[in-house]
């Protein structure tokens, strides 16, 4: 029989997280600080709206680009939060999670061999989605001394005449880094000068703890060259509903809608009705959750300081990214031993790119009570490692 598989797919490495997932799932009584999703349930009024839409029999497809009501609410929301106007009719598309938005944006924009700049450490899907879209991923290794922000110089150094797109993943998973207005202004200048486009993945935008999140689309000349990706998973604790959206110039959104139409048809209808409720009446929920995350973030940073564990202060998402270089173990060795000896699962930084070596992603999408237990074990573990080294 002929080989049924496509070579470029076989060549894609499985996610580093997958490997660790398999080890952890063998272990029954482990506690985890390894998840990338909120610990809150979706607020009840939002769930109730989903249920109501089912009771009313709203079980049909929506239009390809999504419910008009929802697209209008998204435009209101963006106007209200970042002060930028999009037209609901042709500049917004509802996707199956932010992930689909990233995928179809890349597919709509890339010609074979065009380069996509991917700052790492970052979410695991940018690189494979670029390859699947026929593009060439070019990795920018972010540095701890810059608090894992992207600098104009790093960007400039990575640009070639084949560069088409920069992926801008802030607030960042796994580092928790944010880009403030001045940081964005510096890179926006390079982007305009070099005439490249941006896919700005702002799925964690509501989880910013140093003033309001600033979007690159709010800077001069950037809206016309940016696809803004966001969604409901993180802000409203709606991961399982699989709902996101993309906003951008109508020429690009139009082509993305074409791919979406043939591949997906439309995002889940129930989720879309629930999301309308989230945008209309969910601001208080978002604030409550942000406040809870922020308290945990401060709690963790304080605990790290007390145990002498090096970590820059992250101001976004729900991750901290401590440095474990002092112990002379790789991230994977550290995470594996920590799991075996103390039964706590964390994710090695290398799951998010080679430059994550020497770091761990610790999620604080857990109650303070859970965090306390895990931190006690972490403290015991690193004391032991330090004693071993002597």
């Amino acid at each position: 029989m002929r080989n049924p598989l496509a070579e470029h797919v076989v060549e894609i490495k499985p996610s580093g997280i997958r490997k660790f997932f398999d080890i952890v799932s063998e272990m029954k009584d482990a506690i985890s600080l390894g998840v990338g999703e909120p610990d809150f349930d979706t607020p009840w009024h939002i769930r109730d709206e989903g249920i109501y839409s089912l009771e009313k029999g709203r079980t049909f497809y929506t239009s390809n680009s999504g419910l008009k009501e929802l697209r209008m609410e998204i435009c209101n929301y963006i106007k209200r939060r970042i002060g930028v106007s999009y037209h609901f009719n042709d500049e917004v598309i509802i996707t199956v999670g932010g992930s689909e938005g990233i995928d179809i944006a890349l597919r709509a924009m890339l010609n074979p061999g065009e380069e996509v700049l991917i700052p790492q450490p970052s979410y695991v899907s940018y690189e494979p989605c670029t390859i699947l879209a026929g593009g060439k991923p070019v990795i920018i290794n972010l540095k701890a001394e810059n608090e894992f922000r992207l600098t104009a110089q790093e960007l400039r150094d990575a640009i070639t005449d084949k560069t088409k797109i920069l992926i801008l993943p802030f607030p960042n998973n796994p580092t928790g880094a944010i880009m403030e207005k001045a940081d964005l202004e510096a890179i926006a200048e390079v982007i305009r000068e070099k005439d490249i486009f941006v896919i700005s993945d702002e799925i964690y935008s509501e989880l910013s703890y140093k003033g309001d999140h600033v979007s690159i689309v709010s800077l001069p000349g950037m809206q016309e060259r940016t696809i803004l990706i966001n969604g409901f998973s993180k802000a409203y604790a709606m991961t399982g509903w699989r709902l996101g959206y993309a906003c951008g110039p109508k020429e690009i959104i139009g082509q993305m809608t074409k791919i979406h139409q043939f591949a997906i048809m439309c995002a889940p209808t129930t989720s879309q009705y629930a999301a309308v409720e989230a945008l209309r009446n969910g601001d208080d929920d978002v604030e409550m959750m942000r406040d809870a995350y922020n308290q945990r973030r401060r709690f963790l940073m304080n605990a790290f300081q007390e145990m002498g564990l090096e970590c820059f202060e992250p101001f976004g998402a729900f991750y901290v990214f401590p440095c474990i270089k002092e112990f002379g173990l790789t991230s994977e060795e550290f995470a594996t031993r920590f799991l075996n000896e103390e039964k706590v699962a964390v994710v090695p930084g290398t799951a998010f790119g080679d430059c994550g070596e020497g770091f761990l992603r610790i999620s604080y999408a857990y109650s303070i009570e859970n965090l306390k237990v895990a931190l006690e074990r972490l403290n015991r573990f690193i004391e032991r490692l330090r004693a071993e080294k002597k």
């Binding site: 660790f20 952890v24 985890s32 990338g36 999703e37 401060r298 709690f299 699962a345």
Partner: protein
């Protein structure tokens, strides 16, 4: 800041000041001072414990009693409310809008104890026109806390 302190201690009054200061990104001294002030101002009225008495061997009966009364000139409902809330077995008294006036929560050891309170003490007060007593059969949620089930973390252990 006050609101944030209250939100935390409303859920866990045993939290130590150090942890609260860390979580709110402020100084311990400031928290101590604010709490002291709020105690003096009667904003913080106590540091109680949530108990699910159903799970203990202690027998308890709780009733919600709707009370219709005649308001008194110059006093409104205050006088009658005071006469009712002075009984230690009365856990709460609220003035309510709608079809009746006062909602009284009463705790007793037996049904008989509660009903004799209603018939002997409450209904015989001069200004009380009528009462309707509802016994609580099961508490599903109390003070924002769900009493029936403990939810488990159903998320996968590791996700990107």
């Amino acid at each position: 800041m006050r609101e944030k302190i209250l939100n935390i201690i409303e859920r866990n009054s045993r939290i130590d000041v150090h942890e609260m200061a860390v979580r709110l990104g402020t100084e311990e001294a400031l928290i101590v001072e604010e709490m002291q002030k709020m105690e003096n101002e009667g904003i913080i009225c106590g540091y109680h414990t949530m108990i699910n008495w159903e799970k203990t061997s202690e027998e308890k009966v709780t009733a919600l009693i709707e009370v219709r009364v005649t308001p008194q000139r110059g006093q409104g409902f205050d006088n009658i409310a005071e006469r009712i809330y002075k009984y230690p077995e009365v856990k709460s008294v609220y003035l309510i809008s709608g079809g009746y006036d006062l909602l009284v929560t009463l705790e007793g050891k037996t049904l008989k104890e509660v009903s004799s309170f209603v018939s002997d003490k409450l209904s015989t007060m001069d200004t009380v026109l009528s009462t309707a007593t509802h016994f609580i059969l099961k508490k599903y949620k109390d003070h924002g806390t769900i009493m029936t089930t403990k939810s488990e973390d159903e998320r996968m252990m590791i996700t990107p």
